[in-house]
Symmetry: C2
DNA sequence: CATCTTCTATCTTATAGAAGACTATGCGCT
DNA sequence: AGCGCATAGTCTTCTATAAGATAGAAGATG
């Protein structure tokens, strides 16, 4: 919302928008190589320096990866990326480990009011819900409740119940072409419900860290709502603040 | 830890280091204006473009503020900065408010093992400890325990007990020349101790969000250890993940 | 296997103009 | 003379382009 005159964005910002739009529209798939800088510059009608600035900006948001001598590539949801960018629970000894998963339930249905509001969907649009138990170093540590819009994930189905991979974001990207670009998390301390407690082997009322996350796709639309209730006896959530 | 040959850092990175060092050594005080780009470039023996890149990097870490037409200034710990960069508790309605403070205690003493380890001090170096109760919208919401190395804050004293300001980081900067540049936070859900519960008006054992933060000065040394135990009934901790 | 070439991104410098912010000047008016 | 105001000038950062040197990666060639 610019106040004075509607000044046009600087050229590099418009170039960035154009590139982002291409990324979002799936012109280049995950892991693919983008055209070299001079080619992009020519196709956008700007200088190489300008396209460079745009690419650097996008790389800073982890949407592309630049490798000297090789080229610029669309970011993939690798295990390492999941571990370092999207999973913030760390062992108290400082070691990071990706949690294992045990599927508890998967079913589809119309969205509740909360769900459609949080995901920005039409009232009672169809959603798919799943629940998982996640294991850290073998022990149950997180109860996870996930809601996704059915429209974005056509074909995600009860039949998938058995063989959903551990890393859902990679699945979203590979099978449905939905790349999670960023996420907003809200944390609270809550008391374990009797159900939570049973899953995690704690007494009811034990303090749990609740991570409430909305994940956004490249085009900015919300694509997942995930609530994770974590036991933080041997782990903690890390956050860097600058 | 670079693996192959010890390649020199690129010029802009060395320029950044040189500038950071000057910032850390207090050549320019908080709020002061840095020399214009061409002057800096000349003094460092690099081109204006290179110094620009270094300055942009530093600005991205919120250590300086650049204003077109006016100049480049050393960042100050304003209220807004405290609110947006260093205080992550937000009301469930989305509104941010800086908490008020009520001092509970302030005393000096030799560091415990934990304290000297977390702050990177010699064993049993002198530290100052303070405890505060913090209020959100008038209601007690956070119990805060703060430990700082006495060496960095010469003259911080029991006599200050009454009139310590709400925003400590501004005090650190203005009175002691210690600028908090970044911080690392570790979050856990814990059960309220009887003492916590009494301060916060909760029952003992209620779930609290514990924020354990080490703050680092410009030169990279730890300058504060702060543990905040927060009631998250009406508030939550926000975290953006890219 | 070693070397060379080619393609790529990265680094560095230089130049020019646009735009924001502040100061000083000068002009008209009272 | 003194006041108010527009304008010009100057200093600053910001934007944009260009060009060449550097360095990593890969394949072709000897």
């Amino acid at each position: 919302m610019r106040s004075k005159l509607a000044r046009p964005l600087p050229l590099y910002a418009r170039a960035k928008q154009a590139l982002m739009q291409k990324l979002g529209s799936g012109v280049w798939r995950a892991g693919e190589k983008l055209p070299p800088e001079p080619a992009l510059a020519a196709s956008l009608g700007v200088s190489q320096g300008t396209v460079r600035r745009a690419l650097d900006d996008i790389a800073k948001a982890n949407l592309i990866v630049r490798r000297q001598g090789r080229g610029t590539f669309v970011a993939e949801h690798t295990q390492a990326r999941a571990l370092f960018h999207f999973f913030h629970l760390v062992g108290d000894d400082g070691r990071r480990a990706l949690p294992g998963s045990r599927m508890l339930s998967l079913k589809a249905g119309p969205a509740t009011r909360d769900e459609s509001q949080r995901l920005g969907l039409a009232p009672s649009a169809r959603v798919v819900r799943l629940q998982r138990l996640r294991l850290l170093e073998g022990a149950a540590a997180i109860v996870e409740r996930i809601v996704v819009p059915a429209a974005l994930f056509q074909g995600l189905d009860v039949r998938d119940r058995a063989d959903l991979p551990n890393e859902l974001y990679k699945l979203y990207q590979d099978r449905f072409g939905v790349s999670v670009a960023r996420a907003a998390e809200r944390l609270k301390a809550v008391a374990a419900s009797p159900e939570d407690a049973a899953y995690l082997g704690l007494r009811s009322g034990a303090p749990l860290l609740e991570i409430d996350r909305i994940a956004f796709a490249l085009d900015g639309r919300a694509c997942e709502w995930r609530v994770s209730r974590c036991s933080t006896h041997r782990h903690h959530y890390v956050s860097e603040v600058v």
